[in-house]
Structures are given as C-alpha cells and as structure tokens.
Symmetry: D2
Subunit: 345 residues, 4 copies
Amino acid sequence: MLVRIASHAADSSTEIVLANAIALGLDARALSDGHGGVTVAIDGDMHDGALDIAGVVSIQRKHKPYMLATRENRSTSTVVMVGDVPIGTGEPVVMAGPCVIENERDTVEIARMVKDAGATILRGGAFKPRSSPYSFQGLGEEGLQHLARARDLTGLPVVSEVMEPDQVGLVAHYSDMLQVGARNMHNTPLLKAVGRSGKPVLLKRGFSATVEEWLMSAEYILASGNPDVVLCERGIRSFDTATRFTLDLNAVPLAKELTHLPVIVDPSHGTGKRSLVERMSLAGLAAGADGLIIEVHPNPDSAACDASQTITPDTLARIIRKGRALTELLAEDFDPIALTVLSAD
Amino acid sequence: MLVRIASHAADSSTEIVLANAIALGLDARALSDGHGGVTVAIDGDMHDGALDIAGVVSIQRKHKPYMLATRENRSTSTVVMVGDVPIGTGEPVVMAGPCVIENERDTVEIARMVKDAGATILRGGAFKPRSSPYSFQGLGEEGLQHLARARDLTGLPVVSEVMEPDQVGLVAHYSDMLQVGARNMHNTPLLKAVGRSGKPVLLKRGFSATVEEWLMSAEYILASGNPDVVLCERGIRSFDTATRFTLDLNAVPLAKELTHLPVIVDPSHGTGKRSLVERMSLAGLAAGADGLIIEVHPNPDSAACDASQTITPDTLARIIRKGRALTELLAEDFDPIALTVLSAD
Amino acid sequence: MLVRIASHAADSSTEIVLANAIALGLDARALSDGHGGVTVAIDGDMHDGALDIAGVVSIQRKHKPYMLATRENRSTSTVVMVGDVPIGTGEPVVMAGPCVIENERDTVEIARMVKDAGATILRGGAFKPRSSPYSFQGLGEEGLQHLARARDLTGLPVVSEVMEPDQVGLVAHYSDMLQVGARNMHNTPLLKAVGRSGKPVLLKRGFSATVEEWLMSAEYILASGNPDVVLCERGIRSFDTATRFTLDLNAVPLAKELTHLPVIVDPSHGTGKRSLVERMSLAGLAAGADGLIIEVHPNPDSAACDASQTITPDTLARIIRKGRALTELLAEDFDPIALTVLSAD
Amino acid sequence: MLVRIASHAADSSTEIVLANAIALGLDARALSDGHGGVTVAIDGDMHDGALDIAGVVSIQRKHKPYMLATRENRSTSTVVMVGDVPIGTGEPVVMAGPCVIENERDTVEIARMVKDAGATILRGGAFKPRSSPYSFQGLGEEGLQHLARARDLTGLPVVSEVMEPDQVGLVAHYSDMLQVGARNMHNTPLLKAVGRSGKPVLLKRGFSATVEEWLMSAEYILASGNPDVVLCERGIRSFDTATRFTLDLNAVPLAKELTHLPVIVDPSHGTGKRSLVERMSLAGLAAGADGLIIEVHPNPDSAACDASQTITPDTLARIIRKGRALTELLAEDFDPIALTVLSAD
C-alpha cells in the first residue's frame, strides 16, 4: 500500500508510519517526491487506525506492483541530477560519446567534439558486454580513468556501464552515472547493488522486456534506496531484422504515463543503422522523451565497435539543434500530468 | 533488370525496349518517374546489344527484388494524388474519420468536424474485417454511399477498405482511394485487383510483415499497372501487449530510403490507446512520414468499434496544428534523396 | 449462447430452438456432434422460457467466443472425412506431396511414392501465394487436373490451396479438401466461401495469429455451415531466423483442449530445414497431433519451390513407420477428454 | 582457428601448439573430445609452418564463432557427468523437484517422490530471480543445505541456480550442477565465473536469445576452462500469451546439429500450464532432447511459486515411463552424427 505524507508535515510523520509498518513485520520504504512530500510504500496491508497520524493525506491500497515507480498518487515528475545536469525538466538532455573507450587522447577529443555539438553528458564503455568471449571486452579501470580525465578537461559528467555487483564501487568511483545495460535489466543482484551505490542510474530496457518488467526493475533500484533512476528505451527484438532492433517509441509516452521517472531514447542501438539515427532521435523527442543517448565518433567507420550505427559530431550537432527547437515547439500544450489525467482507459 | 529512359527521349524509346524484352519472352513493364523519365522493369536478363537504343541512359542488372518500388535509379519521389490532394510533397496529409460508417448523418457530421480540424481526406470503413463472425461486418454498399454523400457535402476525398477482389469495382466506384488492410497485405489476388482498379491504393503493412515483404506487396500493385501506392505503417505484433501493437517508426525512414513511394503512419491502430495517439502522431511526422491516418469520433467512447483508440476532433485539430509546425521546422535540412546518399552501410 | 440437444431428441427439437431464436432476430446455427447430439449456437441471449423445449439438455450462457469450435459442452471430438480417410480418430494421418504441381508425370510419380511410403492424402499446390509478382504462381486449373489424375490412379484423396473466393468452386471441383493458407487465415471472405463449399477445409494458422484468432477463423467456417475443419500448426514468426519459422507445438495440446476439431502439424514450413523435418514430425505426433502434412519430392534439391525443406520418399516412409509406432505407444493412457478435465487453471 | 590433435599423440603435441599460439600473442585453449583427442581453439590465425607438429591431424580456418562448442571437426558428442549421472548418452535424464526450496522436510519428501517416479537429479531453487523486489527471493544458503540433505538421504545429485559471480563458490559447495537461468544467459561475468567453478553447468536459453547467442554463451563457459555444459531450451517469448512462453522445440534438433553438447528441455516454464507439461515433455524427447527438467510438487496448487505449471509426482512417473519407451523406440535409426551429415543445406 501507498501512504502519502504532506509536504508541510513534520519529519516524524514519516518516521511513525515507517515504525508502525515495521512493527507489523512489513517491509516499508519512504520516497521523497522532490517537493517536500513523501510517499511511504508498504509491502502488506495496515488498517486505517495504524495510519491515523498527523500529516498523512492519503492511503492507497490498490496500485501498480511498482509502488515506488508509479505515477499514481504523485503530483510531480522526478528530476534526476547527473553531476550538475538535470534530467526530466522538459529540456532534452543528450548523452553522447564512443561505444567503447579506446585510449585517452581519442576520448578527450570526442568529449570536446560532443560538447561543442551541444551534448551535456559524456558516454563511453569501459566494461563491454560482448557476444563472443574472444572479442575485446573493454579497457576496464583504465577506460574509466580516461573518461574521468575527459570529464576533468571538459566539465561533462560521465555515464558508463557496470556489469556485475563487484564492479559497482569501481565504476561509481570514476563516473557520475551508472548504466545498467539491456542484457542486465533482469540482473537483480546488480539492480540491488546500484540501488545502494549513491549514484544515479541509467536503466536500459531489456530487448525483450515488457514495459511492466522494466518498471519492476526500476522498482528494485528504488526499493534499495536510490530514487535517481532514468529509464532508457533502446529497441526491442522483433521478427524483422531489417533494423538491428525495433525502437519501441510507444513505450515512451506509455512509461511517462505510468511512472514519474524520466525516460530517454537510444536511437543508436534502437536502429543499428547510421542513416536512421537522426530521424529516430527527433521522433523520440516528439514522442516525449526527456533526452537521448547517442554513439558518436569522429570517424564512425573506424570505431572499435558498433561502427554501423555511429554518427559524426556534425550530425549530432544538427540533431541537437533541431531537437531543441522541436521540443520548444511542442512544449506549449503538453503537460505530463494532463496526459495522465486524459488517459481514461 | 532496370532500364532507365531519359525524360527528353521519344516515347518510342520505351516502346522499343518493351518490345525487345517481350520478343525474348520476358515480362516487362514501364513506370513513369513523374518527371518525364521512364523506368522499364524487365524480369530477366537482356544483353547490352538489345538495349542499344536512343534515350536509354542506364542499365542496372543488380537491384532489389522490388524493381518498380525501389528508389535505386530514381532521382525523384512519387507524389500520389487522391482526388485533388497530393501525398508525398513534404506537406503532411491527414486522413481522419470513424472506424466504421454507422449512418449518413453521423458520417457527414464527422466529415465536417475533421475538415474543420484540418484533415484533407475522409476515412471510414464500409467493409470491416472482424475477428468474430458474429460481430458487425460493416454496412457494405450503403456505408460507401454515406461516405460519398459526405464527400459531396465537404469536398473531402474518401478512402475505404476493400477486402476481396470482387469488391474492388464497388469500392472504387464510390471512393477516391482503396485501402488494403494489414490482414490482407499478403492477399495477392486482391493486390492484383487493386492494381488494375485505376484508383490510388493505401497499402497497410501486415502486422507481422517485414519491410521487404511490405515493399513486395507494393510491387504486386505496381506490376499490375498502378503506380499510385501509399504505404502505411500501422504497428507490428511484438511480445509486449501493453499497447495493442508496436508502432514501428524505424520502418518510416527505412522505407523512405528503400522506395520512392510515400509513407504514412496510423497511430490509432499502432497504439490502440487514446492517450498515446497525439505523441505518436508527432513522432511519426518527426520520423519523416508523409502523413497520418487517425480514427476520430465526436464521442469516442460510443464509437461502434475501436473506441479505446479513437480521439476527438479537438485532439485532432491540435495534432494537425502541431504536426504542421513540426514538419515545417524539420523541412529545412532534410531531403529524402540526401538521406539516401548518406546511407552508406 | 450454446443450447445442447440430446442425441435421442426428435429433429424437431433443433428446429424449434432455431425458429425461436430467429423469431427474436438472433443469428442461430446448429452443429452436429457426430454422435446424434446437436449444439445450437445463438449469437445473443434468450430467456429460459423460450428454451423450455423437449430434448434440450443444457443451456450455456458463458462460453468462449468461438461458440461452435469450443470443446465446452461437447463430449466427443470431431472426425473429419477427406474422401474415405478419417482425420481425428487417434490414428495419425499423413498428407504428403510436392510444394507445387509441376506436370502430370511427376505428380503421378510422387503420388505413387508417397502412397508407398504410407501417406493417405496427396497434397500439391496449383495456386501458390508467392512473395514476388515475378515468381511462378502455379499452374492453376491445369495443376488441379494433374492432381485429380493422380488421385484417379492412386486412390489418394487430394488437398490443394485456394486463395480467393472466386477460386473455391474450381478447387472444390477437383480436390477433396480445400486448404486455406497461413497468409489467408484472416481472409474472412475466403473463410465464408469455403464455409459454403461443402468440402472439408484444412485451416493453417497464420504465422502471427494467436491460438484464439486461429479458432475464430475456424468459427467463420463453422458458422458458414461447414462442420469439417482441420486445424494445422505450421510455425509462427519469432525473433530467431535460424529456422524459417518457429514450430509452436505448445499450440497442439492447447488447441486440442480448447476445441473438438482435429489438429495436424506442418514440419516442412515449421522448420524450413530438411534435416529437422523428421525429428519435428515425431515431436508433433508426441505433442498429440492428429496428423502431419509434409513436402516430399524424389529429388528435393530440384523441387520447383521450398527445396530446402523438402524430404525424400524414403525419409517420409521412416517418419510414418516411427510415427505410427510412437502414436500407438502413447495411445494407452492419453485421452483428450481426460486432458481437458485435468486442465484446471 | 581449430587445430585437431590425434588421440594417440603425445601430450606434448597439444602443449607445443598452445605455446606456439601464445608466442604469437594469440588466445588459445585446449578441449578434450572425450576419446583421447584434443581440439585446440586459437583466436587468430597461424600459418601452416607453425603447426607442422607431430600429432596434428587437421587445421580448420573457417568455422562457427563458437569454436569450442561447434560440432564441426568432432566425431563424438559430449557426455556430462552430474554426480554419477551421465547426460548425453541417449538415455533421457530427468531432473525434477520444486520451483523453490521451502523447508527441509518438504524438500526431502519431494526428493523421495521424484526418485520413486524415476527422476535421477533433484532440482530446487535457493536463490530465485523474481520480478518484484517484494517477492520471496529464496532461502539462500539455508535452501542449499536442505538440498544437500535431500541428496544425502536419496543419493540424487542436485542442481540449483546461481545468480551472481559471488554466489558461485557457495552454490558449488552444496550442489552438483550450477544452473544459469534464462535471465542471466547474457551475464558474461557469471558465465566466466561458472566456467572456473569446476562444476557442470546447466545453461538455460534466454527467452529472447537466438540459438547462436545461446551457443556463444556456452562458449564463454567452455573458454573459461569448463567443458561440462548442458544446454536447456525453456521457451521463448512470442506474440501469443496463451501460454507463458513458446517452447521452441525446433531449437533441439538444430542445437544438436550445431554443437556436441547435450540439450535438455524444460516443459514447465516452456508452457506455464500444467495440462500441457506431459505432452510437451514427450514432444521434447521425440525432438531428440537428452533429458527434461520439470517442476514437481505433491500439492501443486500450494507450491510457493509457479503453481500453475507444476505437476504431481504421479504425472511425473507417467512421463518418465512413457518417455523412456518412446526414446527406446526412436533410438534404433537415429544417430546425431548421421543427422549432421544429412543436413546439406
């Protein structure tokens, strides 16, 4: 059940609700709504008497299984800070960089280029999930050091993938945001570990995960104490192999109806095809995404991985320029809360 | 093979190429490129000598299996006229109307409403494919008469679905464009029949058809002598049933790379959910679609079918207003031919 | 609603039920259960009074949407006769022959070979659905004549595909069973036409049709007056293209739980790969299928179509020999009715 | 590349090949074929001169990307020992037990029941991947202790799931075989960890993994030094939700053509529906599977998880009795190597 506590309530209101729940042997967690209010999620049922506490403004017994991620009972959307860059404000955020970190010089060069193009977060892989054990698996800590160096020189916060619980501390040490990749969306030990990391998390949708399963994975992170989750639609597997994956943009407005978390789009993996990245970036923003994550390389054909889906800094600059204009144009009438209210069925 | 004949060539050039092919027992068809030039598609191989004819500017032996639909060897995109409404000019076209025609009064009323909202083509079903033999299968000819009456009163050309070869004459008599539904995309007798109808065709993608299969179905229509085909992406079937179908917007820029035919998007079937239609309409246009087809009803919840995905005329007006602004904004830099040239891989 | 009439009741019982329903403006149809009993399916609701008729043994108001195809309220399974060959008795039936009819001599030769191998029905295509308009589309009536000639010489009844309503009379004239292909499973005009043909129908599952949609297509045929429908699982489309389709054998015991109609399996299209046909034929029978339909050619690699999935008569003979032994072995304990009763959830 | 060393060769032959490869900076591993011969897999290319070594009988430069898992260049199939139970001999092996370990008494009781029914390996989950963070996640080490106790009392070796690298030591301490679940098939750190564990591994196919991706995951384990991998087909995700997953039995004969590893089938997850488990178990064996893994509980409806797909020990006994008879019946003619040779296309 969900218990909502007013923004003007004393902190003790939340503490009493939590204590009463725990006294009944129930699992209970508090999540700030970012405006002073608090939602307490309780895994089990308490009678009204035990919740007759000053500051409690509503009690909801029927709700989605993702109690903390659901937009029900929330009046605001979550804004996630990555370094000093906010995600979820209405202004689209672009994360860009190479598929895999190759060396320091190139990493710094690409960081400068994507910054000039308008990106505000640097992406790059140090630990890479590869289908073959014989493929290059990333530089590991050395790659993270190159990323951190690029951040120091450009001021861009960095996001990098983490693949197992034991790597969380290391990746969190060097980067500003932890990425959980599509192949690990169901990896619950990893979700719990990034949930305890203190760093914001970019949670990619598994390529055959339903939207509900994706939100349940976010719930694992939230329930481990980390409120800073950004969802990323990156393409699902379908019967048609004309594109590498099928970018499921329906999932963007749907997820934004269902959850208060920001949602971004990865048009690089979502298409697998360089010539489609620009159009699908703009489509993602028109669908309501809070940002994009894009693979960029000065010489895409010589990128160490994902060459066929990597674009140039020039194309990135055009996407960002158009994407901002498009978002501004559409911002007038749209309002996520209004959208939710409209969704009757 | 594909033989290209210059726009300044004499008509006899085309005739000689066709005659030489037929003399060799090969199937051959001529397709105008809309700018005076002609492509002759020949199913088989002729040696260069048999094509040493004045006006022949190029000979291509290796090409896509959809010889007539392919963009290879074409410098222009096809513009399809539906009544006096052109599709494929860069200005988005919106087809709107009820799922199924219920009676004359409502049809005329909805036609006026969608016209006021900015739609330029009226859609409505008289023959309906239903999953149950016990469901209402449409008014048939009476429904077509209501549609025609609405056209007479509003000036909007109409598009309506045809389900079997024997209906083609009847539907072509009353409507300005014939729709082949997703469930009939592989119905080759029907494709051949609409190919001989003399009316433009709206070809919906089968919900489990690959993009290549979709273009091969278009090829059936083109090869039957009808150059006026508009493709429509309307959602594919995937593992996630959170939305009725998965709108595959990747298919829009991909199809526009591969073929010279216009491509529109159906966000009503592609989502099955009213609250997602506006966002996905805009996403479709940002992806490069030449238009939209949308189910509209003044009281969506009382619509005779597809109620959950039907929007109001007010929402339609907002979509059209924003969609036009968005298309104009993006038009500056984009150019489909340029896109094709960019697609290196 | 479903009204069940006892096997010992007078014929007039059925007639009165039908008349009462029709008097109320409801659509009503009678379906024999093959043991003297009758189920009347009524599309709408009648009160008990209107059904207080001698011979009525049960009234069911809540049931599957496929009222006639459902196993609910039936104590027996349907046996469909194709010529003198019964399908659905527990003894597996094998339909075999070439993908497409090429000429009379080869057709007769293959017919003799598959008969020697133990097949009891001859298959062969005269009208072929092809993805390209430039591919061979079948011999048409000439192909049907070759099939009929092979039947005359071997005694094997024949099954052949029909692709549009106007072909039904022609194909029904020459063949003993009409096949509706996977691409036409949603073609309701065709379903209605074969429903009025007087010939048994082999209904292939669409490659992206749910089991419920498949049964609804069968319902169209039953509701058009034809009780003789055999379902055929032939592979669905999935994300993995290692095999041409994914043979969905779960659908076999599931369909047999849900419907009283026989179910057979097509391991040729279901795998697309010759080396898998034998194993998947046996798996299909172990899953409970009532038979198989297999593409066979004396020189598979020179078959005019589907060469990669076509097997030799020798392999066919081995499949039939093993398949019969396997079915006998498993027959002892299994009983489809018992299975239904067990399925609690 | 693959270098094959004869069974009669001195051990030094293998060592010299490995040393030469390593001297060239290439990754190289030796895998015994179980009959005295050795295959050395080298990730890179060596010229013939460097391989002119006594005992080398063949050099293969073109092969599948799963160099160690491929059947190419192998004359025998792998037999994996789990405790004293061999998998891959032609005699089907049945692993059975509860979804999740609930307590010692029930675990021992079920172990006795499945042993009486004919199962030879006990399965049971101590660490459970759950979609909700609020669901029971398994007893952990305590569950493993119950399993070990059941093994001590019944003699059945046990298999249990491991979910993260840090658990490998613990699970390997108590169980005889480590299971990598479908949601972890792409978890490469886990694959590497079980590859170094010294225990045989049951590798479930990801529910949206292609057969090639599945074999690449096996390759990760083999390349980490562990030759004892058993593959398990457990259902893939498709568009039809009538069953929980779509059991892809095509994958069984296909995987057995492509790899020398044993393949088993999980009809419990593969159907999600109790009434289909018996038929699909038999279908799996008819498709050529080396065994089954089945969820069993004395009172299925009260099982702590997966109740709807759990069967009784009585049903298990019938499946095993019939499955053995069926396998014997089919064993006469089938021969996996012969099958491979037949697969021409």
